[in-house]
Symmetry: C2
């Protein structure tokens, strides 16, 4: 009590959303910076990680998981293919689609360079938090990142 609804709205607008944005921006900057030495962007690393987790996927499916349009995926995969990190295999069940897969070089780069690099950034970034806070944060963000009930993918 003593705080009007308008004041509450003002305070709320100032809190979680802005902090979430600021924190995400701060982390992204650090990640881009760390990856710069490898010539890869954060998004490209994301493609590799998705493939590492899920195995061969079509370009469109990768895009779906990263919220990237299929037309945008073309150039993204081009870059990774030129560097020999992924290969455009054909999906034998549906010959319209590719089966984009990690090459050996891609797997090695992930394991020996990219993951350690990003892990170090995370370490420095989240290092200010205690273990309990980090666990809390992961759990809470997991709740927020999931789509709310009744709002699945199209």
């Amino acid at each position: 009590m003593g705080v009007s609804e308008e004041e509450q709205a003002r305070l709320l607008a100032r809190s979680t959303g802005w902090l979430l944005n600021d924190a995400a921006r701060a982390l992204n900057q650090r990640l881009e910076e760390a990856l710069r030495a490898t010539g890869l962007r954060w998004r490209e690393y994301g493609v590799l990680v998705v493939l590492e987790e899920a195995g061969p996927l079509s370009q469109q499916e990768i895009g779906r998981r990263l919220a990237v349009d299929r037309s945008t995926m073309v150039h993204l995969v081009d870059v990774l293919e030129e560097r020999g990190l992924v290969a455009r295999g054909r999906d034998r069940a549906d010959r319209r689609a590719y089966a984009i897969e990690l090459t050996g070089a891609g797997q090695e780069l992930l394991a020996h360079v990219l993951h350690p690099l990003t892990a170090e950034v995370h370490e420095r970034f989240a290092g200010r938090l205690g273990r309990r806070d980090r666990a809390h944060l992961d759990r809470i963000l997991g709740l927020l990142a999931a789509p709310p009930a009744g709002e699945g993918p199209a």
Copy 2:
């Protein structure tokens, strides 16, 4: 034990950072959507909020607080000025700089439309969390959003 360093790195890379990004993106989408009815963008709302908090500021100072270049600020302020939400007053101490200030219309729009709108988005977005989780989240994000020691503004 039983988890290699490489495996740890892989897991770590998969956790906080991605979640942070996903959550921020999800929230931003909802905010942009909610603001669309007002014809304002998330960034423009940000300018108004900064002015409401700090009082009249130069364009460059607003940009500093929002991580926006001064050349980019020009158009941003143009839009808000055309809509009558801010005014370009002159800083009497330094006549090179403007003193951008909220107009009465700007203050009213914030109080009666924009803050309630964004507060509702926050409410729906963070509504899945309990009160304790929300408090936790705000506190932890506050730690992360702050620049680490020895990395202040230029």
